[in-house]
Subunit: 290 residues, 2 copies
């Protein structure tokens, strides 16, 4: 077993949820000279991670995970990708988990943010620092200004500003990373359903005539909640978001530059262009912590 | 044509949208000694209004409506019941509407609140004052405390208070008369989709496992937006709301006492009792204008 190291060339683990995003982060880490070690979760992670050095663990195999990290002297880990929150009783606890079981069970009584923060603390007690995907792969962060060829109009900018103020106002309720605003009107606010479901709702309201706007109308606005730990839960958009925005006949999507990740940016730009949408990063009023 | 009169025994018109609620208001008006004259909108209003003196108008038959009101010396009107916002071009304008068409067309460029306020102003210029259903039928307003046999627990009260603060914070965005809060967590925020669709979303999230709560959990909270003109757009709950709350497996529904209408209260109480829900009125922090 080596001595854990951290730093620009130190080994890095990536605990991979679902989707293509963990592989994007792995590619960025490799480009930056940090050979990544990928941890796949059985039933959640795409098998494509096997292109990198990797290990598969089941939910609850905490001992196996720590042994793998310590065996490779890994002192930093990114947690990234979609993950369905398991029930504590669904976990297959190995000996490493059983030793920590009292603390784990308590965590599972918390909300999502509390659970994530608690898991991060457990890793850090074991000498594994949790770092944000944006620290490893800053090129994945939304830039200031358009991604793709279209840009928001002055009216769109007003809708974006309204959406950003709304999300800011919702922050202290630990609710809402997203909203849809059209012509000065807040038409949808995201809570537990997530961005995709909110966009599907807007599409449905337009189809049913409950929302009557001619042609493309409205902007999806996404921003982190104030005080949200960006290492653990960073807002992200990707091709699925663009598809949802197109189905909702929005004019575009706007995210806080430097605080929201864009998955598969080139594909997002291409598909937004094809659908006649803009995708843009706007300057946030303040940093969201982290 | 008589001289328009107002006052406790003066004739009263009720412009009826869909649903049973206009008939409840008519019944209350009659009990209070104010014989109501009901205006039905073709395609929207229930034919049961024909139990009262009435007239049918099509959307846009403004001249016919004013002639009916003036012929009966009616100086006060309640607007109540569900109404789908028409497009200006869908209206069948009669001569009375054409004379006012420039003003009408401008109104239809406004948001819902602006449209309603503008229509009210047109009526008032013609000598017909718009009054709130709650002024005519105060018994339909939510009381302070439970309707039905169940009451909220201390934990539910905390969720209610959180939901009320959230709606208050959303007021300045002209969004949200409702939210669902469960165990301190905001799980849904209502915007253009309306309360029924929000409750259906919560039911769906519970079925899919996206929201994991054991048994009944969460409270629907409804309150008027600050500054909302209660004469024109008063929040309401009714049997359909109770049904939606039951399907979402909520613990109950809480509305601001004196500022939210309860349709068919006895039936709401009975159905809430049967589903194991509470329905309660809570004291609002402040009056919501009107």
């Amino acid at each position: 077993m080596g001595e854990p190291r951290a730093g620009a060339s130190a080994p890095l683990a990536i605990l991979c949820g679902g989707g293509a995003f963990p592989l994007e982060v792995a590619g960025e880490a490799r480009s930056a000279g940090r050979e990544p070690f990928l941890v796949g979760v059985v039933g959640a992670t795409d098998a494509a991670i096997e292109a990198y050095p990797h290990v598969w663990v089941r939910m609850g195999e905490v001992g196996k995970l720590f042994a793998a990290l310590k065996g490779r002297a890994i002192a930093e880990m990114v947690i990234i990708g979609a993950m369905t929150r398991p029930e504590f009783t669904d976990l297959r606890l190995d000996w490493g988990a059983v030793k920590r079981a009292v603390g784990l069970a308590q965590l599972f009584r918390r909300g999502d943010n509390g659970l994530l923060a608690g898991l991060a603390a457990i890793f850090e007690r074991e000498g594994v620092r949790i770092v944000g995907a944006h620290e490893i792969a800053p090129r994945l962060l939304a830039p200031v200004g358009p991604v793709g060829t279209r840009a928001p109009s002055a009216e769109d900018e007003a809708d974006i500003a309204l959406g950003a103020r709304l999300i800011e106002a919702l922050s202290r309720f630990d609710a809402g990373q997203g909203a849809v605003v059209a012509a000065g009107r807040v038409v949808a606010v995201e809570a537990a359903e997530g961005t995709d479901a909110m966009l599907a709702r807007v599409a449905e309201m337009r189809l049913s005539g409950r929302l009557r706007f001619a042609g493309l109308a409205g902007v999806l606005v996404k921003a982190p909640k104030r005080g949200q730990d960006l290492r653990l839960d960073m807002p992200a958009i990707g091709p699925k978001t663009i598809e949802g925005a197109a189905k909702a006949k929005l004019k575009g999507a706007a995210v806080v530059a430097g605080q929201v990740l864009i998955l598969e940016r080139a594909r997002c730009a291409r598909e937004a262009d094809a659908a006649g949408l803009f995708v843009t990063g706007f300057a946030g009023a303040s940093a969201a912590g982290g």
